[in-house]
Every structure is written in C-alpha cells, then in structure tokens.
Symmetry: C2
Subunit: 393 residues, 2 copies
C-alpha cells in the first residue's frame, strides 16, 4: 500500500428537502455576501433560485447572481465573476448546478482571493494558489464530483485549452445534495454523468499499485452499484432511490476515497478526453465513454492482472480463457454497458470526426497540458495519444 494523505472536509447534507437549509449552512461557514453561480435557466424556471434567495434573506445574507455558465465552463465567465466579486465585496461563492457551475465557482474563488494575479496561471501550472474564498454548492447534476473534490477544470475559449487545477484550498465547505433535483434531468445528461462518475473510480482503479484491498473493494462495490442503478434509471428516470445511490457515488468517486493506497491513478483517459471536449465542445462523460475502450485496448497488456480482476469482479464476465481473453471480455462488457445507457464507444458514435491534422493538434495539446505524458498503467506520450485517437476515430 502506498502512503497517502486524505482530506475530504466537505460537509455533505444529503436527502430530500435539504435545499431550504442553504442559508443556515452559509451562515455556519461565515458567508455574509454571496456570489451565486449557476448555468442553465432550469434552476430559475423550477424555482430553485427563488428558494435559495428566500433562505439567504432569512439569514440576512446578501447575494449577487451570476448565471450563464456553460458546459466545459469558460475562462471569460470566471473573469466576469472575479470582477463582480470585487465590485460587491463577495466573501463566499455558492454554485448551483453540476461540475461546470462548481468548477467556475472555485476558479472565481481563487481569483477574488488573489486579486493581483491572473487566475489562468493556476491552470497553466506556473504557480500555486496561496488562498481561496470559501465555496459551497447545491448539486443538481450527479456527475463531476466537484462538490467534494479538490479539482476544477476550466476551458480557455480563445486558445481551446481545457485545463485542470487541483488544490485542497478549494475543497467546498458544504454541499447540499438532494436527489429530487436530478429526477428531471434529460437522459443524455444523466447517462453522461453516470459515465463520468464511473470513470472517476476507474481512473483510480487502473494503476500499477498493489496491496490496496480495501480501496479495491470500495471501488468495485461502487462501480457495481452505479451500473445496477443506472439500468434502473433507463426505464424509470424518476426513481428516487436509484438517483440517490448514483448521486452519492458521484461524490465518493471523486473525493479521493477510491484512490487511497494506489500510486495516484491513471487519468490518461481524462486527459485525452479533455482535448476532445476542448476542441469539439462535446459532453465530458460521453467523451470519456468514446475514448476509454480504445485506451483500454491500447494499454491492457501492461497490467493484465488488473484488467482480469476488473473483468471478473466488476463486469462479472465468464472467467474461462486466457488472461488476455478475460481482460478483453471485460472491456467488451463495459462497451455493452455504455451502449445499454446510450453512450458512444468511439469518436464516430460521439459524432466527432477529427481529421489527421486535428488528431495531431489534440495529441500536441495533450502533451502540453500533461507536461509530456500521463498514465500509470502505461505512460501515454504524444505518439501514444495519437494512436489512441486513431483507434477511437
């Protein structure tokens, strides 16, 4: 088992009718002047924003609204939020939404806390943050896991670069997770979220570490629970219990619990996908499903026993045949699962057709954003990235 540091301080407030408590929790964590960051009009139309305002009014907490965050959230919106923050003396950022709103909130929180520095330099990894405003969320989409994670991902829409910055400073103070808010999510968003959730654990599961039995048991249990409940939601999207299992899995899958004792995880698929959604604006989860099978086939021989364990313990494949055959059956079973939730298993099914030149550009950006390579099972360099994009095309 590798040494690890685990820090997951976010208070999770989970269940029905929890959203009215937001004012109490912001007060508890010291917020007086809140920037509310959100994306779609769904949260205005369904009355959620009004309920939040009322809860804040009851606690005499001031607020300023910043809507219009888009999927693959953009740097310009972050700058807009930082500007608003300075104008209104903001001391607390509340995101309402999913990963896009929360990641934007984190970036704004860094930016306000260090007014003399360009926040994008964090995402360029040319410096580290020294402070960050408190962030919290009301989660409306189970997917990114940003509600309890240290990470945020922002796209510079001018350069088409999608970059991540991880820092414990931005771990949210609390998150209000009411599965009822996810009951009406469109199917494609639900299923992209499910893919993202599973991939956060799969990225940590596929490593060359060893002796991490408890972490493996948790990861395998999480993946099986998500797949079981994902299937329920295909036929019964308003099933509260299935939504609740998946929503909670989304947090545990990305708060690092499923990484502990490993060598840190692989995450090559994530970095490969960032270049796809950075260039084509596709939904992150669907992009992951389109890349993972090609990545898996490209690397599985590098740690056959790990892929065999996955095939048998998670995908429950028939354990006859050679190790390679079992590993490949596991990858195929995951493709079948993706198809069962209407996710793509390659770029063509994602409806993205990169030219050779575009693949070259994505591979080069992959190299730039990873500092050369990414991966634990196999170090993926620029040429490997190109091969995987070609396999996925």
């Amino acid at each position: 088992m590798n040494n690890f540091d685990y820090y997951a301080p976010t208070e999770v407030v989970f269940g029905k009718q929890t959203k009215n408590e937001v004012g109490n929790y912001i007060d508890k964590y010291g917020g007086k002047n809140v920037l509310i960051v959100f994306g779609s009009d769904r949260v205005i139309k369904n009355g959620l924003i009004d309920e939040v305002k009322e809860s804040l009014n009851q606690e005499n907490i001031k607020y300023t609204l910043l809507g219009g965050v888009v999927p693959n959230p953009q740097l310009s919106k972050v700058y807009e939020g930082i500007e608003l923050g300075h104008q209104h003396n903001i001391d607390f950022i509340l995101a309402i939404g999913g990963g896009s709103a929360i990641d934007t909130a984190k970036a704004i929180a860094y930016g306000i806390a260090e007014p003399d520095k360009d926040v994008w330099t964090l995402y360029e990894h040319t410096r580290q943050a020294v402070s960050c405003l408190p962030v919290a969320s009301i989660l409306t989409i189970a997917a990114a896991g940003s509600e309890t994670s240290m990470g945020s991902v922002i796209t510079n829409e001018v350069t088409h670069e999608k970059r991540a910055y991880d820092d414990n400073l931005a771990r949210p103070k609390f998150t209000i997770m009411n599965p009822e808010l996810t009951l009406t999510l469109p199917k494609y968003q639900t299923n992209s979220g499910i893919t993202d959730i599973m991939m956060h654990t799969m990225e940590r599961y596929f490593t060359n570490g060893s002796h991490m039995e408890l972490t493996d048991a948790i990861a395998e249990g999480l993946l099986k629970t998500v797949m079981k409940n994902a299937k329920i939601l295909q036929a019964d999207p308003t099933n509260y219990e299935a939504r609740a299992e998946i929503m909670w899995a989304g947090s545990l899958s990305h708060n690092d619990l499923t990484r502990l004792g490993t060598d840190g995880g692989d995450f090559a698929t994530h970095m490969l996908e960032h270049e796809v959604s950075g260039m084509y604006g596709v939904t992150h989860g669907a992009g992951l499903a389109a890349i993972w099978p090609s990545w898996a086939r490209y690397v599985y021989q590098n740690n056959l026993s790990r892929f065999v364990k996955f095939a048998i313990n998670v995908m429950k494949v028939d354990s006859t045949g050679t190790e390679s055959e079992i590993a490949l059956k596991g990858i195929e079973a995951m493709e079948d699962f993706y198809h069962s939730i209407e996710m793509p298993i390659n770029l063509k099914e994602l409806k993205v057709s990169p030219t050779d030149d575009e693949i070259e550009i994505m591979a080069n950006r992959f190299v730039a954003s990873t500092g050369g390579f990414k991966g634990s099972i196999k170090k993926i360099f620029g040429n490997d990235a190109k091969q995987i994009y070609l396999m996925a095309r």
Copy 2:
C-alpha cells in the same frame, strides 16, 4: 435511503515514516502549546515520544506530557489533563496511542475549552458542548476509530459508569497513521482491535433501513477485507500490508461512512458491552465478541433478510435452507471467525462470571445510559438486556 449529514474533516496522513511530520501538522492547524496525552510506556520505550518531541522542537512548539492513560480511560485522568491545560495555557491536544488516549484527549479538549463547566455533564448528556480545543493523534493501535470519529467514551471510575459523548466539535484535525507502529502489538490487543473495527461497521449494517446499496457494498467489502487480513496476521503479525488494510479499515469503520443512508445503526451490542467493561475492566473488543452472538440470536428474527444478506454476502455461507437457518449459519460463521482469532464468543470465554445481581445492575445501568432502550433491529429495553446477558453468561 434516509437523509444524512456526513462530516469527516480529519486529514489522514497514512503510511511509513509519517510520524516525523507531526510538528508540521500541528503548526498547520495552529497549535503553539501542546498537551501530549498517552497511555502505555511502550511509546516511551520505543522512542516514539522522543521523536515527537524533536519534531515539535523543530517547529518551536511547546509541549507538556500527560502519560498513564489506561484502557477504559478514566475521568480522573481527564480532570488531571484539564488542570494541566489551564496551568500551561494549552491550545492543542495531541494523543499518542489508540482509542483510550484519543478519547481522553477529546474529553480534556472539551474541558479546557469550557472551564466553568464540569466535563462529565457532557457524558451524562445533561448539556451539549459549545466549544472544544483542536485535537489530533498519532495512532498506534488499530481499533477504536476515534482518530476520525466524533465520539469519545470515558469511564467514571467512582460510579463504574462508562459513558459516550458524540459531537462534531471533537473531530480530530489530523491523524498520523503509520502501520509500522502496530507491528509489535500483542496478539490479544490486535485481535480485540479487529473485533472492535468490524463491530463498528456491523452496528451500522444491522438496521431496519433500506435502499442503502452503496453503503452496504462498502460495509460488506470492509468486513471481508478485515477478516481476510486478520487471518494473515495470526500467522504473520509483522505483515505491513495486512496491518495497513486493518488500520485504514479502523478509521473508515467509525468515521460514519458505513452508516450513511441508514436509520443510524443499531449499537445495542456496544451499549451492552460498555456495562461489561465498565464493571469488569475487560478489553472492549473482546467484550463485544462475547456479547454479539447472544444479541444476534436474540434479535435476528426481527430482520431476517438483513441477517440472511450478512450471512451470504459477508460470511459466504452456503445459501441452502430456510431463511432462519441461513441467518443462524451466518451467526455461527462469525463465532467461528472470532474463535479463529482467539476471541471469546460468550462471557464465560471472556472469563467473566456475573451473578444474577450483577446482571441486574448491568441491565439497570444499560437503561440509565441509553435513556431507556437502544437498538434498531430490535429496541433493547432493560429486560431484553438482562435476557441477552443471561444468554451470554
């Protein structure tokens, strides 16, 4: 799935050679003047205290020592620590040891923070804490899970009352968990710890809740991982990897992760045991093993499907027969496991022979400390407690 609030902010620093970092972490969390609380001379003899002193000296952090904490830690030691705290302007409590040292540290931290109130009234549940000094630990025994939990248990040695107080205020700031420090633990202590760890999850698993599939998957994975590695330690007590799995399981088993979405757990066995160790001073884990089988046989008909699930998923019993037969096979399999790690399965094997009068006294104290009854699977009142003690005798 029931609503839940989950708050586990303790920073976990896990692995080899982590103990020298203690000064850095106390500095990070603002400690300037530390009370070091410990129990056995083992931590003096093996040089651990000296290493801690050196690490604190390097950060110019002052410290005062308080040794002599005993198993089933006593209220008089808590008062001694509070007195020392006031004398030396203590602002941070560091426990070195297991549950006894950490629970004592938490109680001292409450006591120093509210100098005009008797700390024992918290444990009598006649008031709630409003503040608490920061607490942290260097863990040397995998068992109680107090290193990340909200709980502490103190024995009033005058009245023989063993009482618990739970409050998020006392969640430790950090815990340094180096499995190497547990390699030389005596077998009986190791195995009592293993029993305590498993019971913390079993208390949460045996409930009447439903739809908590992810929590169940984590609980079942944890119990199987602990049992597997417990067996390894019987033959190979210095096996680092097995010690590491069990040590990490000890924290996850009591930081509430395995409770989420349930109705809060059962905990009748814990409260029944507190009266046994309160009266006879036995090791808590061994006491739990001596009580659980009788509790299980007394209550299993109240939630047969839960005991069947446990028997099949955790204890891997043959699933033929009636539900009652399968449930009983699960209980027997747990007894076999206890025997395999040299734990008692009744009071006789624990070498405790309570008279009828003593059982009456324990049952009365159980009623007093629980406020009338305890339990989820079945509410255990005074007469039920008496019956279970008689079954276990």
